[in-house]
Amino acid sequence: MKRVAVVVFPGSNCDADTLDAAQAAGSDAYYVWHRDTDLQQADVVVLPGGFSYGDYLRSGAIARFSPVMAAVAEHTRAGGPVLGICNGFQILCEAGLLPGALMRNAGLKFLSRPVRVRVEAADTPFTCRYERGEELVVPIAHGDGRYVADQKTLAELRANAQVVWRYVGDNPNSSVDGIAGVCNAARNVVGIMPHPERRNAPALGGQDGARVFLSMEARNATQPASDVRAVGGRHLRV
């Protein structure tokens, strides 16, 4: 059973859904408040979706300065797995933990709909329970989901196979290369725009997203980030 820290920023609104999905996959999941600097021996860190600080400036631009982010960066440096979903992906890009950036959807509207994505990389801690090339249906719900990166970065992403999910058919926000999710070069940090936590049960229209969370529990998918120390942190009760 992996310890999964779900970070809560002011304005996170998928924190409960994400915690639930991780618990449903068998993880020992708990909340960490953004002011805490202790991840409590987390094996995995998840930054959930939402509108951190209202995203009034730029999605994720304020949250990257939250005290918890130093610990998250430390965790990634130690090779610990980190997943950012939607706003979490935006925060990871803003924090420089993932390449590229997420801009306003090309249609300039918020879009909430199911999309089809193809698994392009099955060798990350969050996709190892999928087959490469497999197609999934998962919902998106975002206004700023158009992935962009400069030519050099894109070339690196291709060369290192860092594209994790790619939109198939409908590219809802006109992301470059149809990119719906990427990982860092070390492959332990993953960001995805669609919401796998919203498709993990038949009653929710399908369970294509469940294996993101089951992947976290897979053997050897994660390694303990043992050099992250506890400093007066606590569980957040909501």
Binding site: C14, F51, G54, F110, R113
Partner: protein
Amino acid sequence: MTGSRGKGATPFPGDPPITPRLVQEHNLTEAEYRRIEGMLGRRPTFAELGIFSALWSEHCSYKHSKPILKTFPTTGPHVVQGPGENAGVLRLPDGWAVAFKIESHNHPSAVEPYQGAATGAGGILRDVFTMGARPVALLNSLRFGPLEEPRNRYLFAGVVRGIGDYGNCVGVPTLGGEVDFASGYSGNPLVNAMCVGLLKERELITAAAHGVGNVLLAVGARTGRDGIHGASFASEELTHESEQRRPQVQVGDPFTEKLLLEASLELIHSGHIVAIQDMGAAGLTSSSAEMAARGGVGVEIDLSLVPTREPGMTPYEILLSESQERMLVVAKADRVAEVQAIAAKWELTATPIGRVTADGYYRATWKQQVVVEIPGQRLIEDCPVYHPEAAEDPAIAKLRSACPSPASPLPSPDEALLRLLDHPSLASKRWLFEQYDSTVQASTVIAPGGDAGVVRVRNAEFGIAVTTDCNSRYVLLNPYEGGKAAVAEAARNIACTGARPLGITDCLNFGSPERPAVFYQFREACRGIADACRALSTPVTGGNVSFYNESPTGAVDPTPVVGMVGLVSRVDRAVPSHARQPGDVVFIFGDTRPELGGSALWECLHGFVGGEPPAVDLATERRLVDLLVAGAEAGLFRSAHDCSQGGLGVAVAEVAMGGPYQPAGFGLDIDLTSYAIRLTPYDVLFSESHGRAVITCPPERASAVLALAQEHGVPAHRAGAVGPENGVLRVRLRDGAIEQPVARFREVYFEAIPRRMGD
């Protein structure tokens, strides 16, 4: 905070003198003003005049509607909280309860669509979470003028974006609603927002202040000069000058709302507070005065302690500001520090501003000076009640007996159906609901686009179904039948998902009650709603009256919107509205009569709104609802869809076309040659008779479906079968037919609104 008791309030330095003109500007009549002087035994201060103006506005006092609202059925074994609170509450299984309420934000949205609609969503969310419920669904019922006019497109786009940006940020899924376009709404759009929340019944908290010495705290945003007199603005007609009201429209901050939501729920669960209320319409004034009156206590507030956005705000402004995202909390006297700590965790301030008193006065001071002193109970309860004259407009009676001119012949049934599906009122609302997050909270079982939205309840077997409905054409032509129809259609929509209708909230949008023709519509529509609610066992748990929806072009079409919640006993058996499996059998439940009055067919093809609208037989409706629920619970149906606007033709097309995110629909092969044999093809296809639904079921369950329908006394006609994916919709009639690829219908239906919006 020790004002001189009983000596009355004195004017604040700089207050204007109270003149007849000032009284008039506050929308108070001479008689009302005399009543105020009588109550106080002196001339009111400027702040007091403002308070009376707000609390005695139609919006807050229901002075024209109260006697009618009292005729609604409001009780039932599962009613936990009826009208009079921030939201109604109904009992669910396993100790759960559902809190829900609908409210209008029409006038602000007419002058500033984005913020008007956004703050409408914000206000209704607060009404629900101040009951201790976590909001789990939003719905909105919208009315605009035709999209051909640029101003209407601007209002429509702004309202949708406003609702979306607010609800999306707070993290509450929008699960449904309705949108209608008609010229009657051109000058005065309607924006009604409904919120549904879940709570454990034992955690219910109400907004009644009690406990002398308990402390009033202002929690959340600071008080600014925005929205002063919003309640009064909502209680007057829109004019060409209304545009100048734009700076009065409040500005929403959904991020603060989200923090306030979490802080409020934590405060309620902590046990440190005894009451909580949103500072909504009429702001601090109404929240504090209503909480005191409900608890039968007095309150005393020192306005100089209220955190403001700018210096120099007067008592008048502080009392009447409608700045958003503010809560008034009554804390136990010894728990102020604990309340402040919870607020601080959510990065909010909580400032003590007053206390509960024993003398029953509603008192506000500025430091030592008393600026308001009104007998609290009488302030709320002594508002005059009016019994306006009601008389039907003879022009409407004439319209009811009219028919469209026979000069314009109808096109073929295929063409007529395509024209209907291209009408924005009937077409897919994908363009809107795609801008609303419909899956946050990971509980959405049936997303927007079906008959009703359905959400699961975590760790429970059951779920909740939600919808809003009103066909204003029917209400215009026959308000009594129209009122019944709004409830009946809501119940059918709920029941199609397999849910048992539980109760309603209503948003009654009408013109000026001072006009007999309008008050007649109001009275009759309410009588219809009351009768239907009794027949369908769905008590009214609260709602909102929005009068004065008038612009220089006249009153809006009468629009009593019904918001309904239902209980799906097994959420894994919730029934979607579209065909899903080739070879399934199609049944039509209910009878079709020649009832084209008020129909979409006449409106779209003849530009004619008239005739006698279809009558609702409530006993028939009840039987259909029972059948739909029983069939779903037994797992017999693969899909169920009600017949409403556009009749059977539009209903079968919608069953065939499928959801917006399916790659294709299914063909349907329907034979109506032996159904309703005396009717013309147009009557069969487009009559809007109530009490009907179209269901599909696996062939092996067809006989069970027939038997169940017979048992419930509902006529069931085996009409055909579901065809292949991306097939043809074929409807055979005695005298004509429809035969078109489903893809053709999908193209028209899903593109009708985007095409008009230039997307």
